[in-house]
């Protein structure tokens, strides 16, 4: 009973940690160790007029200190600054940024006010200006008027920038989902950056975006002028000239960092309410698992396709959820069981749920695909289905209507889809369709299916 209670508490502690990005990334803020400061620096100053233009591919550690340096220089030297934080979704851009802001507001109390905008919510210009005004009012204890027009809000923004500039206060604009602001007229970005230039202000604009290069993200080391940074290229010329070309791109975690992160998240704290001997036993067992070659293999499999911290924490969360309350320790089996649940293959699940008739239709489509007909729709599938029936005299021959129903089930499952979204006027049997699974997937699905007729296997093998 007692150990169950401890196990539950331990589980809650680790779940809390996994759900709070600021905890996960806090290891990158403490004790800047020079070993972890790996980065690649590409100066861009000769491509742009801006002498500060640069591109860093850097570890979380380096990004943290670099970002802190940029923002704090703006605070101490009373100048404007702008920077783009780029990286795949879930790599911790926001968390690192929040840690930097937290640190700075401790170092310079009352000198910093942060305005946070999100491209998903405030991509509308007037809405964004309103939100800026609202947050400025809250920060400076002013009365916010809901009725103020867009022009009023712009005016208010300019005068606030000026006032804060005189008072040596820094306003930091965090533009999350930066690419969303770069859609349409980009009026917000223009008015913001223009206001910063025209008055003596002291502001920092930090854009956060997960839109990276169109080509492979990390192959850029070899690409000569890395111009094709997407979020940046979306900007209009008048804005680009006002925006500094300083970009911090997050690198995936190094194996050392990964290991430290795992320990950071999973090891229980000794100072918590849990009894000392339980924590010691838990941690000892965990360190044993982390050192295990099999566990390292699991992590390799996980980080093979992509390895953002978000993916890792999802995996760990799933493993922790599986923790058995009786011994109350994490086991290697928990991690093993967690891996397939993170790496689900939705198509295979859908294939296993198919009825025999639906499998017939899929095989017919695959055969048509092999024949390379220019167009495939329900009627041509039915023709193929009929020809199979004529040759082999199957017991599974159903009426047109029943097949159409099965066809619609397949559409619903996402195993097939219409070629285009046009032609809504046509009825579904005439609209061209395409198969969304490969030959291998279909073959594997047939094999794992519980009651797949032998004939279908034969047809698949023959077609190949």
């Amino acid at each position: 009973m007692c150990s169950e209670n401890h196990a539950e508490q331990a589980q809650i502690i680790i779940r809390r940690r996994l759900c709070s990005p600021s905890f996960i990334f806090s290891i990158f803020s403490d004790s800047p160790n020079s070993n972890y400061r790996n980065y690649v620096y590409i100066p861009l100053s000769h491509y742009y007029a801006d002498p500060l233009a640069s591109l860093y591919f850097s570890s979380h550690h380096f990004t943290f200190s670099k970002l802190k340096y940029i923002v704090s220089s703006s605070v101490t030297e009373a100048c404007n600054n702008s920077v783009l934080l780029l990286g795949p979704r879930g790599c911790g851009k926001n968390a690192v940024l929040e840690l930097v802001l937290e640190d700075l507001s401790k170092e310079h109390p009352d000198l910093i006010s942060v305005i946070r905008l999100n491209g998903l919510l405030h991509s509308d210009d007037s809405c964004a200006l309103k939100e800026i005004a609202r947050q400025l009012c809250i920060e400076h204890q002013l009365l916010f008027s809901k009725m103020a027009s867009s022009d009023d809000n712009t005016q208010f923004l300019v005068s606030m920038l000026q006032e804060c500039g005189f008072a040596h206060k820094t306003i930091i604009f965090v533009l999350n989902e930066f690419d969303r602001f770069a859609q349409g007229k980009q009026r917000l970005l223009y008015s913001l950056l223009d206001a910063m230039q025209s008055v003596t202000s002291q502001a920092v604009v930090i854009g956060v975006s997960c839109r990276l290069m169109t080509s492979d993200e990390y192959a850029v080391y070899k690409v000569e002028p890395p111009f094709d940074l997407d979020a940046d290229q979306l900007l209009e010329k008048r804005i680009r000239s006002r925006f500094s070309h300083r970009k911090l791109v997050f690198l995936p975690l190094s194996p050392d960092d990964l290991h430290r992160l795992l320990e950071h998240i999973l090891l229980l704290p000794t100072d918590a309410s849990l009894p000392h001997d339980y924590v010691a036993a838990f941690n000892a067992k965990l360190l044993h698992i982390l050192a295990d070659e099999k566990f390292k293999g699991l992590i390799d499999v996980l980080s093979y396709p992509d390895s953002t911290v978000c993916d890792l924490s999802r995996f760990l969360f799933s493993a922790v959820c599986r923790m058995d309350s009786n011994p109350g320790f994490l086991s290697l089996e928990n991690f093993k069981a967690a891996l397939p649940s993170v790496q689900r293959q939705p198509k295979m699940g859908g294939l296993n749920d198919c009825s025999v008739l639906e499998l017939y239709i899929l095989v017919c489509m695959k055969r048509l695909e092999v024949k390379e007909l220019e167009l495939c729709n329900f009627n041509s599938i039915m023709k193929e289905y009929k020809s199979i029936h004529d040759t082999f005299q199957t017991s599974d021959y159903y009426a047109w209507n029943v097949c159409l129903r099965a066809f619609e089930h397949l559409l619903q499952r996402g195993l097939i889809s219409f070629e285009d979204n046009r032609g809504h006027l046509q009825s579904s049997e005439f609209r061209p369709v395409k198969l969304l699974i490969s030959w291998q997937e279909l073959q594997q699905g047939l094999k794992s299916h519980l009651c797949c007729p032998v004939l279908l296997h034969k047809l698949m093998d023959r077609g190949n």
């Binding site: 919510l121 690419d179 997960c210 649940s341 859908g350 009651c451």
Partner: protein
């Protein structure tokens, strides 16, 4: 009365009473009756079902779902532990929503439920969630208005954060109170869960991508550890596309039922289990080859079982081998019929937006299936409308170049001569045309062409009825050009019945083009059902169909 006045509670009650797994649906209805409109809602109203169920009952009410329920309960975790967003997906009628709701009934944790079926636009979705978070109820006093008017996502997030903060605060207060003394609250923990059901429908909304990325990123935007987000969807996660992407929620797949599970499900709540089991022995296997969706099977099985029981006098009797054999031979012919006809009953919304009217027509047949045979069905449609429909069908299926050959009185013989000359070539041509028709579907045609064909057909009809000396007054009605306005009216009514669809206007001519949606099968049956004295016309149209 109370059902109208308490829509929120009513919703949950109907849900619970509709599910067969809740033994205490009655008591929830009683509880909802006690609610007075003036009484404000409390956090207790964010719970589902009363009294709660045990874990054993939860497992028992969902056959074949033990591992999924375990996974979900583990993911929700112990009391007051945060969770990363959850994405529950699986085919229709696999029990996704019901499992989630019953799990919450077992856990007694407060949640906010919004289905994208009833909340069919962002505004309705936002307001429905806010109403529940602010414990607001629509009633006569406030003119059935929502707590806040909310259309923009930014306002939604702002208000939601505010509402959730106060709600969580009050939950925490209650927790503290209940630790001192036993309070009236049944609520467990201080987590609030947001459940979005039928998420796949959001993909078809206007601005779907921005709404979807908002919902998927909601957890990250709110940054509140006490909030859990659960999505329930028909479509798998890879079927959601978004230009900004999103932090993927944790997927849990609810697979379709196996044949054994289905047997368990259908055997529940049966009056005579032995009889039903012998019935299932017969029907389950063949029908499972077509579909394994519970809802579709249930609609087929209920009339079949009635049919199965027909020879029996006593429904309570345990069948022995002899009666089983008798019943088997009685049902056998019905099974194949139902296999090919009855499964066209559509219980799910069709994928197509422009629903083929024919399907609804067929549905009508299957409903009446027991009493009437296919041939006896009559169309309640005026004769001119029938002719119009046939002309539309002809115009859709035949290329315009063939019209002259078909309807010109001298065209017919010529055509036949050519056929004799190079029948092989013609056959080839015919095949390729058939292929084209299969691929392209019915073509479009302008109004003028339709009217011309209509004129031709009615002219032939009049001619033939004169020839056969039948009641001329019937035929004479159609050919007069003074009825043209009437015909245009008929056309519009056919359009609204979805027999003919109005296409976009042709870019060259600028006139509206039409397309007939009826199938060949339907048309030929239809011609067969036309009133007497149209044998000639019938032959013509069939010939044309053959030609195409």
């Amino acid at each position: 009365m109370s059902e109208v006045e308490s829509p929120q509670i009513n919703r949950r009650t109907t849900r619970s009473s509709s599910s067969s797994s809740t033994p205490n649906a009655k008591s929830t209805i009683e509880a909802s009756k006690k609610v007075d409109i003036t009484q404000t809602l409390s956090v207790n109203d964010l719970l589902y079902g009363y009294p709660s169920i045990t874990f054993g009952e939860l497992i028992d009410s969902f056959p074949g779902r033990r591992s999924q329920i375990n996974e979900l309960v583990n993911h929700l975790g112990p009391l007051n532990s945060p969770m990363i967003p959850l994405f529950v997906y699986g085919g229709p009628s696999t029990g996704k929503t019901n499992i989630i709701l019953q799990i919450f009934r077992f856990l007694n944790r407060p949640f906010v439920y919004a289905s994208c079926v009833s909340c069919y636009s962002p505004r309705l979705l936002f307001e429905s969630i806010l109403n529940q978070v602010f414990l607001h109820r629509k009633h006569v006093g406030n003119g059935y208005s929502s707590v806040k008017r909310c259309e923009k996502p930014s306002d939604f997030v702002h208000l939601l954060r505010e509402g959730l903060a106060t709600l969580i605060e009050s939950l925490k207060g209650q927790m503290r109170k209940s630790s001192h003394k036993k309070s009236s609250s049944r609520v467990n923990g201080n987590m609030i869960y947001l459940i979005f059901d039928n998420l796949e429908l959001v993909r078809e909304w206007e601005k779907s991508s921005s709404t979807l990325s908002l919902l998927f990123n909601l957890y990250d935007i709110l940054k509140m550890a006490e909030v859990g987000v659960i999505f329930v969807s028909n479509a798998s996660p890879d079927m959601y596309q978004s230009d900004t992407g999103y932090a993927e929620p944790f997927p849990v797949y609810i697979p379709g039922f196996t044949e054994d599970d289905l047997r368990q499900i259908f055997m529940r709540n049966q009056a005579n289990p032995k009889l039903y089991s012998s019935f299932l022995d017969m029907v389950l296997k063949p029908f499972c080859r077509i579909t394994r969706q519970v809802d579709e099977l249930a609609t087929v099985f209920s009339p079949l079982f009635k049919k199965y029981c027909e020879p029996l006098d006593d429904l309570g009797a345990v069948p022995n081998e002899v009666t089983k054999r008798k019943l088997f031979s009685h049902l056998q012919p019905c099974i194949s019929l139902y296999l090919n006809e009855a499964s066209s009953i559509t219980s799910q919304p069709l994928v197509m937006t422009s629903v083929n009217k024919e399907r609804t027509w067929r549905k009508g047949i299957t409903k009446k299936f027991g009493d009437e045979s296919l041939d006896e069905i009559d169309f309640h449609m005026s004769t001119s409308a029938k002719y119009l429909l046939i002309s539309a069908f002809l115009a859709s299926r035949n290329p315009a170049t063939l019209d002259a050959a078909l309807f010109d009185s001298t065209g017919g013989p010529d055509n036949r001569k050519r056929k004799r000359k190079s029948s092989e070539k013609l056959m080839e041509q015919k095949e390729s045309k058939e292929q084209e028709l299969l691929n392209k579907g019915p073509g479009t045609f302008p109004l003028e062409r339709l009217l011309a064909i209509f004129q031709c057909i009615t002219y032939v009809l009049e001619y033939s009825s004169d020839y056969e000396l039948q009641s001329g007054d019937l035929g004479g009605e159609y050919c007069g050009s003074s009825f043209m306005s009437d015909i245009v009216l008929q056309l519009s009514s056919l359009c609204s019945a979805n027999f003919i669809t109005k296409g976009g206007s042709c870019p060259l001519e600028g006139s509206i083009r039409y397309r007939s949606t009826i199938s060949e099968d339907f048309a030929s049956k239809f011609v067969g059902h036309s009133t007497k004295g149209e044998a000639m016309e019938q032959r013509i149209s069939l010939e044309i169909v053959m030609l195409a």
